[in-house]
Amino acid sequence: MSLRLDAESAAMLGPGADLRISRILGRVFIYGCLIILAAAFLAPLISMLFTSLKSMDEIRSGNILSFPQAITFEAWQHVWGSACIGVTCGGLKGYFGNSFLIVVPATLLSVGFGALNGYIFANWRFKGDNILFGLILFGCFIPLQIVLIPMAGLLGQLKLAGTIPGLVLVHVVYGICFTTMFFRNYFVTVPAEIFKAARIDGAGFWAVFLRILLPISWPIVMVSIIWQFTGVWNDFLFGVSFAAGSSQPVTVALNNLVNTSTGTKAYNEDMAAAMIAALPTIIIYVAAGRYFLRGLMAGAVKG
C-alpha cells in the first residue's frame, strides 16, 4: 500500500522525485555496506572487550558477542597485578612498564636520528651520498629474521644481551632505515631556495635544521612517531629473542601468560591481557591518527 502511494506521489511530483528516490536508495546501499564492514572489523574487538568484563561462568553459558550481564573488572585486576607469568606472579604491570622503557627511548632516538639523516641526505651533498642512502633504504627490506643471529652476537659483544638498553638499540638501528626515508622524502619537497636563503643568511648546519626545517616538519614527525611507536610496541620477535626474564616487553609476557595458564582456560583473563597489551597503540591511533594521514599526504599535494 505504502509503496503504491509512494509511486503515486512520485508521479504527481514529476520526474524530479524519481531522481530523489534513487539517490536515497543509493545512500541506503552505501551506508548499509559501510555498517556491515565496520561491524565485521569491530566484532573481534567488541568480543574481546565484552569477554574480558565477564566472569568465567557467564562466558561458559553465554554468547561470545552478548553484552556482559554483571560487569566485573576482576580479570583486568588479576592479569595486571597478580597473574602468574612463568614462575613469578606479579601480573603484566612490570612488563607493561618494560615496554614503555623500550618504546619511548627507541622511538625518540630513531625519530631524532632519522630526522637528522633525512636532512643530510636531502640537503647536503657528499661523496657516496646516494650509495649510502640506497643502502639505508635497503635496510627497510631486510626481513627481521635474517638479523637475529648476527644481532645476538653483537649484543653479546656489547654486553647488552638480555637487557632493555640492548632491545632499545636493536629497535633504533632497525627503525632508522624507515625514519630516514620518511624525513628525507619529506625534506626534498621543501623548496631548495629556502635552504639557499638560509645559507646566505649565515645559518650553519644545525641552525638550518633546528630553526628552519624542523619547525615545518611536524606532520612527518607525527608519522614517524606513530610508525615507530606501534612498530616497537607490537614487536614480538626481537623481544622474545633478545630480552630475558624480567626485561621482557609486554607482548612476550602476554604470550607467556596465555600459554602458561594451566587447567581451564581463563578466557576473560586472556582477553583482558590482550586488551592491556594493545591499549597504548589504540590510544595513539585515536589521538594522532589524523596527523598520520595528513603527514602521509603532505608531500603529495605540495608538488
Binding site: E193, K196, G202, P215
Partner: protein, 360 residues
Amino acid sequence: MANLAINHINKRFGSLTVLKDINIAIEDGEFLVLVGPSGCGKSTLLSIIAGLDDHTSGSITIDGKSVQGLEPKERDIAMVFQSYALYPAMTVEQNIGFSLEMSKMPKSERLERVGKVADLLQIRHLLKRRPGQLSGGQRQRVAMGRALVREPKIFLFDEPLSNLDAKLRVEMRTEIKKLHQRLGATIVYVTHDQIEAMTMATRIAVMKDGILQQFGTPEDIYDRPANVFVATFMGSPPMNLLPAVVVDGSQNLSIRGADAILPLPSLAAAGVTEGKEVLLGLRPEWLSLASADTTNPTLDVYVEVVEPTGPDIFVASKSGERDIMARLPTGSQIRVGEKARFSVDLSKAVLFDAETGAAI
C-alpha cells in the same frame, strides 16, 4: 657598497659547458642586469657570485678581494629569490631579522634595524604575521626586507618579479629602481624579461648558451647590438633583419627578395666591400610614413596587419617577400590590404655580417 669583477669564469658539468669565459666588471652603485633566454646560464652565474655554486675556473672579486672559497655568508651579499624562499615557520619579523640573529647581533639593535627596513618597505603592520598569511606582493616585500636589513656590499636578485601579476610587477620594478637610487647599492639582477633589463639596468649583460653576447649600457645594447641575437632579443617588437648585398661601389644595399635599394648606412660604410652579404637591422620605430617631400630613403610595403597598442600602432607589412614591422604613432593613416611608403631613418641602422651574425 662595492664593485664587482667577474674574471674568466668557466663552469662545466662533465663535458657540458654551462658558462664560457665570462668577463664582467661593474663599479660601486651600478645596477647590473643579466638577461637571456632560459638555460643561458644567468642564474648559475648569480649562484656562483653568491657562493652557492662552484665554478670550474676563473675568479670573482668583490671590492678588489677574491672571494674564492668563501662561504655565502662570508661574502657580504644578500639575495632575493624568485620563490621568495621565506622561512614558513617564522614571523615576518623573524624572517627579516634571521641573518642578524645568525651574526649574533643584540636583540634591541636587531629589532631597530628590522623596524627601519619595515618602514622603508611599508610592511610594519605585517611584522607579526607568518608568510602563509601574506599575498604575493607582500611576500616579495618581505624577501626584499630580508636582503635590505643586512646592508650588504652587493644585492643579488634572481628573477624576483616573475611570480607577480603584470600590474604588481611594474609597480615593484619602479620600487626596486627607487630603492637602488636611494641606497646607491650595487645590484646584480637576473631576468629573462628584456623590458625589466632595459628599464632598471645601468649595465646589461646579454647571455646565450653560457656565452656573454654583449655587455654595455642599455643604450649600447639597444642602439648598437653586438650581434643578431642581441638585436632580436632586446626590443619589442624585435628589430627587422633584412638580408642584403652591398652594390654600386659600396654605395648602396640591394635588399634581397624585396626589389629595393637603400643607401649604405654611414655607421658601417668602412667595414664592407662590394658584393658582401649582410643583414640590415632596422628597429620598427626607425620607420615612419613617408611624406611626399621626404629626403630620406623610402621602402614600399604592403600592409598585412595593424595592431593598435594605445600610444603606438604596430604595422606588420611586407616588402616583396620580406616581413617588415613598423611602429607608428596612433592616428597614422594606414589601412590593411593597401600599399604604403615608409621613410627609413638610416642614421642608427646597423649592419650584421650575414655569415657570422656579428655587427659590422
